[in-house]
Symmetry: D2
């Protein structure tokens, strides 16, 4: 546990290696947070839920940090004002991390049993924040007219992708949700049964090339493909392409964490909204899969071990500097069968985010506090290049509003069978 | 068919009997339409989809009316500007109705078979608009400081309501959706199977009295009960009670289409948003039913014939003047078992509005055009005092955004069984 | 006085002769009011300030009308909700006028001396509302895709306009403001002295032709001519021409109260904002006159009696039906010298609207209540085709926000002399 | 010139001595800019208008900096996005300053005559930015819940202020504006004559104590004192006191650049909007002075040499570290007669910001570019604790929108004499 704790906490710091103090101070939109805030917020969780509970006479690092860095309802700062807190400085926030880490490491030596699951929850949340850090910094650097790279190393070219195939599944009674014997988030519980009609699902994600064909066919201006809300969003935000596509001298490019590159038609399309994913699917005579169809399909395949993320190996992770990471979708393998479920991009599903049926309405805010957001959000399944190891599993439920694009979000098609 | 046509079209006119020209000219919010627009829009449907198709050399009443009164994407006026069209006048719109009615009646004498279902769709849509007319006029008159009554006749007092009971249902495989042999809207198709876990559902709707207890317990300011979006909506709109509740000299009243009345604790609570319904359910240690649970429950009971709306009887409807109508929820009967499913108010469900699984994504706008709205909307089931006969059935799906309150919307609780 | 009262009150009614109940019920934007509201508001003034004060035991027509139809701070309805008050109906508002008129006529027979000036103020205000009624109804009908005419009679063609001349004035000490011996509004007081540097002022207003040259020269997109706020307003509102100009099949037209007409290059440009007037002046190497320069120039000329409005002649006014009115700017006469000061359109001045220097700050809201609006407004001088007789004088101060266009607003140039 | 250049440029750097990289990276509202941007923007001016023009073959430090740091219309970044430019880093911006300073110092050795006035303009603008830097950093630190001090040294207590006296001035022909023989901004030109009626003007500014009496008398909720726009602004922004007043445990405090202090009733009130100044004046039975009355009064007194800022003395300035500065209004001296005209706070005048009469409308953007903002702004006169030496003179015209409060803005009363 001590080693896991240190590895994960260190990985958060690793992710900031190429960032300046300024990069870590500002937020580029209300939905994003300053990196400095991420460093502090993840630390706050351990102070409030682990140290304050399980360490006798624990003295908080600073009494005001709770107000500044919590996300509890009511006492925290408005999200869009997080960048205004220039003090405490980054230096002080780093000291906060060290202070808390030392106290946690001391506690771990003699860890009460009740503290184990809370500590695990804190680490899982920290890892979720690692993905957010990458998407938030991408959004910030992406507004910069110089297209600065977060990682200087260039990307490998993507391999040529085979023609998309729709694979048919019989459906029937499906086991959905996590058995709960190992760690999972509360929204994956309980395991329960859902009845599925027969359906077909694409063997891989949609590529930039396929999406470009949609654009070139006038898809963005064709009312037939768009939900009413989507058409309004598109018009109001003047959306004409995925978030990070840039047309420069009439040539499409894509801004990536590795810098600006010419659009690679073999890579999966990324950073599209639910509205765009849904419109593309309709244009293609298909639809998005439900989250249950997705989970059923993911469970039905023999995992492609080359694509599936490995179980977190502290040693390996510890040595993995950011400069060695590939933080842009690379594309599908040429293996046959269902693939690319846990790599490259999250996949929009047609499912609105809601509780699983046997979970009763809760009257207390829970530690992971998912339920409060269960309205007007859509479920994403799988995982992306920014997802930490251990956060890709068939039951994992990510969720966002329909207009969201700054997460690594892509498209897999499905179709009903009659 | 001729008689049905005349009866339904006449009923639309009947609903305007107590309205002034001004009442029919304005709209009180973008979501509502002027009554004059309703009169014209319902007529436009018959002109465009029946007369223009099936009557040789049919001359439209006025070429510009299509732009003014259609809801086709692109060519119509912005919804919030409908009241600015003071010309054509109400008188001209009435002539438009007469002109079209005469042409349809002539066509009906010799109705091509392909026209039958289109005509039926037009009449069904006209009836949906009748409910909208009542909710729109209620919203307009409800903004008036004089609380004018739409119907002068006073309401009967409500009977005392028995204690709420949660009835347990076993669930299992449930048939959901309309068989499609008689008329239904496309969103009720196809009939398909869904697996349900065991659940309990309330035998009746929540009353004003029960909802008042929630208010008096500080429910509106207690973050534990509210979805994040709901809490924000409530704060921004300064919501403290259902839409038409008015506190006058410290006494709660309710504005109804029969005028302002003291709040009757036995009547069902009405005009609440999804957010309020959801918060009330959480406060009550319960949740809202899914639309499938609702339909399963509605199918499981032997219909209480006193409560269930009768099959449309043209003769009866023709003679039913508005002045004889009761347009405010009256409350549950004292019968035992599940009741009040099709009366009084629509009921919010926990289900996001989406296609049934075997419906493929459509590439053409259909006549009823439901699919375009299938995002960020929640399903309502049942029917209200404003719902025309024939629009209450177990498979009928109404839908609204989570913040909507001007429809007759109420609450029925459910609970999972472990 | 009785005759003047009746004539002016009747003229308000005359202006509604061609309007439907619907035309009078709605408002096309928050700045405009429904015509029905104008009818009631002008009547409210006489009830509140004349009848309630000077008639013993006077019973108000309806106690709630004060709340509905006053403009007193605090107790009135939000301006943008005026159209929602569909009840009282137009019929009831007409009865209100008759009721109040009868009571005032009875009072006039024996009018207390203190009541005279209040009555006069009420009539002056009613006349100001008459101009507003014309601009508000023009704005409403102007949103209608059919371009309905308020007056069916066509306009006379405009005469050819002579080349614009800049006439030089020496300036020096100028008497500004009204002597106060006859009626004036409080913002014209007191008469005081202002020192003016030498300046030149145009002998007539800018024409449509001259303004079209500005458009055709790319004036709307040329940052050199625009105030920063103006450039932002223009971009946000997508302004490309005066408010009622319509390009139809590539030909410029102008919507007028007499219907849509091809743009007449000899008529004065009308319905431009301060921003547009200021940008046009800069484009022309000139500037707008200050209100003092304007008043000085207007006082310096021997009035052209053909252009100057006559003293209000009740007999003449009484017989002047709306159908005989010309309600669109007709253009400059061919007389030499300064002209067109009180006809056709109001003229934007460079002067921010503020108190004259010797008026002390007031601690009580006054009857004409001008001072509350003395910020971020610009003074207009002269008068327009919609201005009632008696409201055009050299000292009269009209005012609007810089972005306003629905009033009859035009341009006269000035220039400093070095 | 070399010494002046170095002193002023160094003073900008001095002002950042106590700031962290983060403090300099963010902006707290669209009207404010990041300190880093100020450092770069002032440098850009010398590069573009001095070096690029007068140094043969000058190579810009970086071609993209013009886009990032200019305020030219069209090519610059939206103001509210300035904080998103985290790269170039502060380090690089400092290099930019050094690079440009070295080139300017080399040029100064052999300065072409035409370059002198441009260089002077650049330095004057840099000094204006120094004041903005102080107000922008105050606004940022003022949002921080910890109330961090910019200068750690505590403030001297303020001396007791004598009762306010209104001093009467005869008015008459007044010389307004700058003679133009030494440096001034274009908006101070030309010197011209204005006629003034007799008026009285307060001998000192309004104090916190006097303003608190207005608050305690319910002044913020009393419609009698407020302009309509002001009342709306106050309600919408929920304004209840000057910008930096904080009520803590029922005791008023004031946030200052020296940290949070208990409200000192003898100091001048500061950080009020035009609306608040105007309402306070009306509450006091007075009004704000016009800018001409202010200038006339300032010219009429024998300068109080203790209060008047000295002519810029490079030696003195060079040695003046920020830690020695007093950056909060200290209060009036006890001298008799008019005083406190150039110290403590700017003073709102009743004058809308506009060109002096003999300045022709310009067709070219000028270097100081004042004219583009001449609408809906109000003139401030005098100077504040944040104003650099040399920027306080009787003819100097500062200006802001009526709702602005983050500048050091205060109140002096005036009154007309009849």
């Amino acid at each position: 546990m001590a080693e896991t704790y240190q590895t994960i906490r260190q990985q958060t710091i690793n992710l900031t290696a190429s960032l300046s103090v300024e990069d870590m101070a500002v937020q580029s939109m209300p939905e994003a947070s300053p990196i400095k805030w991420h460093l502090a917020h993840t630390t706050w969780f351990f102070e409030k839920f682990v140290l304050s509970r399980f360490v006798k006479d624990y003295l908080p690092f600073h009494p005001a940090f709770t107000m500044l860095f919590s996300t509890d309802n009511g006492i925290n700062l408005p999200r869009e004002q997080r960048s205004l807190i220039t003090r405490p400085s980054l230096t002080l926030v780093r000291s906060y991390r060290t202070h808390v880490d030392n106290a946690v490491m001391a506690l771990i030596k003699n860890l009460p049993e009740e503290a184990v699951s809370v500590l695990e929850m804190g680490l899982q949340r920290e890892q979720k924040n690692q993905e957010l850090m990458l998407t938030d910094i991408k959004h910030l650097l992406g507004t910069n007219p110089f297209h600065p790279a977060y990682i200087v190393r260039p990307l490998e070219p993507a391999a040529k992708v085979a023609t998309l195939k729709m694979l048919e599944l019989r459906g029937g009674m499906a086991d959905i949700g996590h058995p709960g014997l190992t760690f999972c988030f509360e929204n994956e519980l309980p395991k329960h049964r859902v009845f599925l009609n027969p359906f077909a699902i694409a063997d891989r994600k949609i590529t930039n090339g396929e999406y470009l064909a949609f654009i070139n066919a006038g898809g963005y201006n064709d009312a037939r493909w768009w939900l009413e809300d989507g058409a309004e969003w598109r018009a109001q935000e003047r959306v004409k392409a995925p978030l990070y596509w840039r047309k420069i001298d009439d040539v499409w490019h894509e801004y990536t964490l590795h810098g600006l590159i010419p659009l690679d038609l073999n890579r999966p399309v990324c950073h599209v909204s639910y509205y765009e994913a849904d419109a593309f699917a309709r244009f293609s005579g298909a639809r998005l899969p439900t989250e249950f169809e997705w989970e059923f399909a993911a469970n039905s395949i023999i995992p492609d071990l080359t694509g599936l993320p490995t179980i977190a190996d502290p040693e390996a992770e510890k040595n993995k500097g950011v400069e060695a990471m590939n933080l842009h979708p690379q594309g599908a393998s040429t293996a046959t069968g269902l693939k690319q479920f846990f790599t490259d991009t999250w996949e929009w599903t047609a499912s609105s985010y809601t509780s699983y049926p046997a979970i009763k309405a809760r009257t207390e805010p829970s530690l992971d506090n998912f339920e409060r957001q269960m309205v007007n959000q859509y479920v994403l399944r799988g995982g992306s290049v920014a997802t930490p190891a251990g956060h890709s599993r068939t039951t994992y439920r990510h969720f966002q509003r329909a207009q969201t694009r700054w997460q690594f979000t892509g498209i897999r098609l499905a179709r009903s069978i009659f």
